[in-house]
Subunit: 444 residues, 2 copies
């Protein structure tokens, strides 16, 4: 690294919408940034696949590399900005090459961090180099800096976030327009809010990658993405959203990490959140993160979770910190001091549950179901049964002559294990026409 | 300042709820903080008036000073934490003495910064010492760090915040319980949410102090608290809150700073905000700040604006930054580079307006009023007139035989000057029974 007053030379690997926005903003705000950073910040080199594409940026005098690893090793840059994506391949190789050759790294790559964050942080720390990743979680929301620097006086007890704009967009539209998942997904794909292969987003995996990073920062533990219990949103129906509404809830795909007596519980799943809670009011592609901690009680950050400019904003904040010499270990604590997380098993999860059953409409069914819940010592806060007429269109089609009606149970706090045992018994009893819908409730 | 690995020695001036919480948390989280800061952080000395009071903290081995200035000059501290309050007197003297004798300063004192922030920042910068004040605005919300470090890639266009918990508590209760200002204020005083002399809070002055700091950070300008247009909440009535509700708004006391063609507009006043906007959903003593900027579009931070523990959280974040050596000029830019703000005159303010008139109930009044608005080229978005029966209890008492009915006008964007001219004409016409109620609308 050059002296503090020499220009900071940036190399950008990957010139998609984010990379092009980073280059454009660094040029447009050059003068202000050099005053904020007390030194100039210049894009010296880039790498991308297609050299001819018009990205709306002037790359005159900027070195071009075909190979991001060569860019990473170049003597003409001080910081590698990795915007290639993917948890292996060129992204990983470029980040490792950058650290090995003494460069700071800024990355938006949550998949890479979820899988290799511990070892990359250790390498960066050993080489006394910054590894920064504000853009990897919740786009333009400064959640990484907040967790890493702003809450040192707090014992964090829970962090929960809407971390995937695609899922929140789909659930918001399903709720407000009373549409099915497939229909909204197809529309989101047409509008560019969802990928052609949406599994990564709607299956909850993108949220899980981001959550693994937040968990590490919040609890001072090593990244443990494999421990995350992951469920997506594909099974959520308009009926669930209508029932949630009636019960005072919204359904959000949340990433949640909680410190429990058993260890750290990390989970991604559709979640019932009370209307009025800050996170429940977040609609569309917007992201939000709520932190519960002993001193601040609760703080919530809301903002754009994706988009070229918003993500570039986070990248540039990291670059400015590096230019200023504001150094912090990647995960707040030295990697050697991060604890090995104790994994709280999902079966021990405690909380309320929304259970929707499709119950054959004959005498005794309700009593039999209630008995099964009572056997597991599960107390019911409310029971909602809809007549056939009222919810006819939303009713599941049932084979055979018998018809079924939806019955929704809201439980008081119980355990995942108890719910599963109760539902296994209910299924075995033969009173329900299809597998139960189970959605966890997250209380304030 | 000692070497980076020697303990950071903290002196706390003022041991009220915040000071005691700082001391308690620094002791309780000592081990974690020393790992986050890469050095120990110890409270070495304190000053407060009453030595005998039980504050629930162990001050064994901690030096006690009667005089905060002596504490500030002590050779046994590296950082002065100023929690005395007030824009002159011992607080100012202690901060100046600390800087003059080579100490870093952490303060929660918005009044001091609003009045003397420019000169104190210059002194600190000249001496190459940190001056940190996360706790001065919005308590536990990391808004200072966000503005100073996280948005360097953005041109900020507007910042607006609920910055005074007392006012938001009063407006929230007036709205939800349909009570008058005086009644809720008295209750807030009983509950400890409002001071015995509430002027400073309900008059908008506390919000103005905080806004002046945010404006400086957001726009890179010198603090200019005197330029702020300030209105309080005492004149808001349950009728206004009911009308707002009907029109899809909530009324919040906001501090707003906007970059306009005329310069920077800074204002504190009751504001109509659309329900559904993040800031509109913030109820009770909670604070919130929304930042509009070109790259991130909009981010909102929500959290506790006051309280010993939450404010201490912000103080400790600053102390940790100082211990880590994360240095930034107090207002992001060097004081010498802060621009002298061009003051946008309030008469040039452009926006929508809610105008509630108490109109004598006779023919021609409505037409005459509409004409006065039309003469000023003010377009009306909606007009709401309530019959006497429906709003009888909320009606103003009118002297004489004539009775008056409330008429609410919502205007499209116009200027403050045009509104004032129109209302002067309406008053002169003699159609209204009491001075008009005017509340500005802040659009998304």
């Amino acid at each position: 690294m050059p002296s503090d007053h020499a220009p900071l030379r940036v190399g950008i690997a990957g010139l998609g919408t984010v990379g092009a926005a980073v280059a454009r903003i660094l040029a447009a705000r050059g003068e202000t940034l050099s005053r904020l950073a007390a030194r100039d910040i210049v894009v010296n080199a880039v790498s991308a696949r297609d050299r001819k594409r018009d990205r709306g940026i002037d790359l005159t005098g900027v070195a071009w590399f075909e190979d991001p690893v060569e860019l990473a090793r170049s003597r003409d840059i001080d910081v590698l900005v990795e915007l290639i994506g993917g948890d292996e391949g060129p992204a990983r190789a470029a980040v490792e090459a950058a650290i090995a050759s003494g460069k700071a790294v800024v990355t938006a790559n949550k998949a890479l961090l979820a899988k290799h964050g511990n070892e990359l942080a250790l390498k960066a720390e050993t080489a006394n180099l910054p590894l920064a990743f504000e853009a990897a979680v919740a786009g333009g929301i400064p959640i990484i800096k907040t967790l890493r620097e702003a809450l040192s006086g707090n014992e964090i007890t829970r962090i929960q976030g809407i971390l995937n704009g695609t899922c929140n967009y789909i659930l918001s539209r399903m709720e407000t327009e009373k549409l099915g998942f497939d229909e909204v997904l197809a529309d989101a794909q047409r509008l560019g809010y969802a990928e052609a292969d949406p599994t990564f987003d709607v299956g909850g995996f993108d949220t899980a990658h981001k959550l693994s990073i937040l968990t590490s920062l919040a609890f001072g533990t090593r990244i443990d993405a494999e421990a995350i219990h992951v469920e997506g949103i594909a099974q959520i129906t308009p009926l669930d959203l209508a029932m949630a509404d009636e019960l005072g809830f919204r359904i959000k795909l949340l990433g949640v990490a909680v410190r429990t007596a058993d260890g750290v519980e990390q989970r991604v799943h559709p979640t019932m959140v009370a209307k009025g809670a800050a996170i429940a009011e977040v609609m569309g592609v917007t992201n939000a993160v709520t932190i519960d901690a002993d001193a601040v009680r609760e703080i919530t950050l809301v903002g754009p979770g994706a988009g070229g400019e918003a993500t570039a904003s986070a990248v540039i904040a990291d670059i400015t910190d590096i230019a200023r010499g504001r150094l912090t270990p990647p995960f707040g604590l030295s990697v050697r001091e991060l604890a090995e997380p104790r994994r709280a098993p999902m079966q021990h999860h405690e909380g309320g549950y929304y259970v929707r059953l499709s119950v054959y409409d004959h005498p005794g069914a309700a009593a039999a179901i209630a008995t099964r819940f009572a056997e597991q010592k599960i107390s019911l806060e409310s029971i909602l049964q809809k007549g056939r007429a009222r919810t006819a269109t939303a009713l599941p089609s049932v084979n055979g002559a018998e018809s079924a009606v939806p019955v929704v149970l809201i439980t008081y706090a119980t355990t995942e294990a108890a719910i599963r045992r109760a539902l296994d018994a209910v299924s075995a009893d033969g009173h329900i026409a299809e597998p139960p819908q189970v959605i966890r409730i997250e209380r304030d």
